[in-house]
């Protein structure tokens, strides 16, 4: 998982990439920001997604799959995965046209990995049941 985040982090201008649980607890993080810890980033992203969920209800939409927030001094992507959130913090002036596709690739890799882990766990559970 760290390798997936490191690949994102290697794009110029990407300050931090973190995989956090739905409640904001960080699982793995790549890159560091002296002014922001992974815990804080996770908590803010999780809280933000909850607020978006409420707003989406008013718009008769499901919870967003991905949110991008662009501001004067940087941007943040919050991707809502099945098992957690992928949060990417980007400096202003970073090539967003590269970050978007790289984020898609990272999501695909993370989803595949999660599916494999789930399948393995199911297989183990079934084995235990049979024994």
């Amino acid at each position: 998982m760290k390798a997936v985040l490191d690949a994102l982090r290697n794009i110029g201008g990407v300050r931090m990439a973190a995989l956090v649980m739905k409640d904001g607890v960080p699982v793995v993080c790549s890159g560091a920001d002296p002014a922001l810890e992974a815990d804080a980033l996770g908590a803010l992203a999780a809280g933000y997604l909850r607020e978006l969920e409420q707003a989406a209800t008013a718009l008769s939409l499901p919870t967003p799959r991905r949110a991008f927030v662009g501001a004067t001094r940087g941007s943040v992507y919050v991707h809502n995965l099945e098992a957690g959130l992928l949060v990417v913090l980007v400096d202003s002036g970073a090539p967003l046209e590269q970050v978007g596709p790289a984020l898609d690739a990272a999501v695909t890799r993370l989803t595949r990995r999660t599916e494999r882990t789930t399948a393995t766990l199911t297989h183990i559970d079934q084995g235990r049941g049979a024994a």
């Binding site: 922001l36 803010l44 978006l52 008769s60 499901p62 991905r66 927030v69 940087g74 202003s92």
Partner: protein, 379 residues
Amino acid sequence: MGFFTRIVSLGGADKGRIRELTRALATDPTAAAYAALAHEQALRGDAQAAARTAREGLGLHAHDEALQRLLERATTLLREARLRELAQELSTAPRPALRAELCALLLEAGRLERAEEAALEWSRHGGGADAWMAQAEVRARRYFADRRREDARTALDLCSKASAAAPADLRPLRLRLELCARVGAYAEALRSAAKLLELSPGDAVLEVRHRTLAALAPRSSELDTALREVERTGRLADEVATPAAPDSEASSRDEGAQPAHVRGMLTACVERDATVQFACAQRGSTALIHGEKGASAERAARGAREITTASRALARKLGLGALREVRCEHALDDQATATVLVQASDHGSAAVRVTGTAHERHTRALVAMVHALDTGAAR
């Protein structure tokens, strides 16, 4: 534009083209003709002439987007050229007037970090009250963008220092007045207004401001409390939101606050593009919406406002500065997707809900709406 460049660029063909466009403009002064001439002048590197043409065109066609863009671009080019000149002059013969101009231009360009560096540098070289004021202005601007308490505190401290050094200077008091009034510390703002009136008695605008603040003072917060509240909510006292009340087609709570042409833009956005389900523009407590009716319109406006508010708060808490864009992608059933796209300025925002992915044309339409909201309110 250098002399040599001017000679080169005034080649026969170029000169002929400009003459041709000028003649076309004289016979038919449309926005497109002004834009074509300004564009040609900008291409030839004559930003000053381009700005002049665009400004003249905007005098006749105030809402033309192409002319507005051209004027902005030409102004940016001129500013960048002047900044380069100033940097050169400051390295050879630094003097206060140049430093003041540098700070003002950097502030105007929104390059706050660079402006603060320039002001600090000036301060180190004995800039005194003027340098402190330049720093205070940067901090105040940063505060209005990020709403962080320390920025406001630093700006106010710098204002106090500048006032102590130059008691007759109105600028520190004006900045203090603006900051305190915008956060809702009306009693503190009233004190600044009173001091300003002592320095410039009979100023009609100040007298009105003083009367307004005197009326608001009973429900004033302490400065610290007000700053903490703004930091918590991310909302200044003059931006307190009330629920939007759109009606069947497009509506406004306060007709005077919204320029009429925003309605036209909303209508065009929804009716000319089949993928747009609704478009919404908001500023202060006013919301205009097109594409939804009745209760759905109200819900949609509320949803768009909540997305903007939450995103503003996130950007502020992450230290990313003022919100400019939000893009929320939603996966619907049967592989379909929907996107909510928001463009925001410091005071207003515009949003669309589109089926599928939002494109550049949606962004352009929203940017124009936000610009119209801002310029409409400034008029």
